[in-house]
Amino acid sequence: MSGHGRTRNGARRNACTRLLGVLALCQFTCSLAAPPDLTGVWMPETKRTQPFPRNPPYTDAVRASIAESRQTYDEHLDDLGRSCLPYGMPQQVLGTAAYPLEIIQRRDRITMVHELHMAIRRVFLDGRSIPADARPTRLGYSVGRWEGNTLVVETAALAPQQLGTQRRSPAMRIVERYTLLEGPQEPTGKSLRLTIRIEDPETYTQPITLDKYYTWGSPRFEMGEYFCTEDLWNQLATGNKSRIPWR
């Protein structure tokens, strides 16, 4: 091989080494910037979770409306549980009963599957804003972003609700901050702290903020199936007319 050839090979080797170095550096910095993977099953934790306030800071108008609704309370119309109609947000994420949450994380979207009522929330992380004309729903329209290790989810376009103390105006906006906690101090090695801020100036005089915790549930827990009208169907199927206590 000529001296010229050796020089050219050496230059190629140097270029390759530099490229590999750049790639390794990129991989290192990219892994530093990558958000944690929350994918998996999470079980609500009662111990550290703060309950919803017993006396929420209702506006005077809502307080009066609640007092009025007590006079006309109809358990069949005003207790959504009887009709299996979920309360929607924020109640969907506030409960601490033993119904897990499954998070499915992708770069541009996070899907939250709640076993209770099999409620599905889609959180868009593709940079979009909540559309001004988004159709109001019980779970609302959610967009998210990462702030370091914290997933920030903003929800609006919520359908109003005027039942008993379950109040929600179209002005409600909810911000959830999910932070991964890891270490031997966590009950199953890792936990998720959700700090939720509920702002609705037409319902509350000030925002309500509270912390909820989930413990890592995989692989001990698997998501189950929750169809809320099985009891009614079971009676049709068996011909049994036994009174259902909660209907």
Binding site: D79, G164, T165, I244
Partner: protein, 126 residues
């Protein structure tokens, strides 16, 4: 006074309903426990909740029907129950919190199945 009490009772009911996320259990007296043994006449192993109807024969030979409220099928299955755990005709023993107004209804806290195995409500994480 009556109105104030009624308002407080309704408020308590609504607050409890909210904290449970779906159906209220405020009708049960969580300070008390009651235990009976009997024969299963109907099992609703279902969501959103399950319930067991049992016939109980007292010492005087009198039969009474009890209704035992339990949590949802999906939760019970996660904590060891199967559709075969409780069937019509089974002889079972149950312990639970009594209903405040209905004397033969309870919220299940412990059951001894027909196969002799015991299950506790407290085995559920939350």
């Amino acid at each position: 006074m009556k109105t104030v009490l009624a308002t407080l009772a309704t408020l308590l009911l609504l607050v409890t309903a909210q904290s449970h996320g779906h159906h209220s259990t405020s009708n049960f007296d969580f300070e008390k426990e009651v235990a009976v043994s009997g024969t299963v006449t109907y099992m609703s192993f279902t969501n959103p909740h399950s319930f067991i109807d049992i016939d109980v024969i007292d010492k005087a030979g009198q039969k009474s029907s009890w209704k035992v409220f339990a949590t949802s099928r999906v939760v019970l299955q996660r904590y060891g129950w199967t559709p075969e755990s409780v069937k019509a005709g089974d002889a079972i023993s149950v312990t639970g919190h009594p209903d405040k107004t209905k004397p033969r209804e309870m919220y299940l806290t412990k059951i001894v199945f027909a196969n002799g195995k015991t299950w506790l409500r407290s085995s559920i994480d939350n």
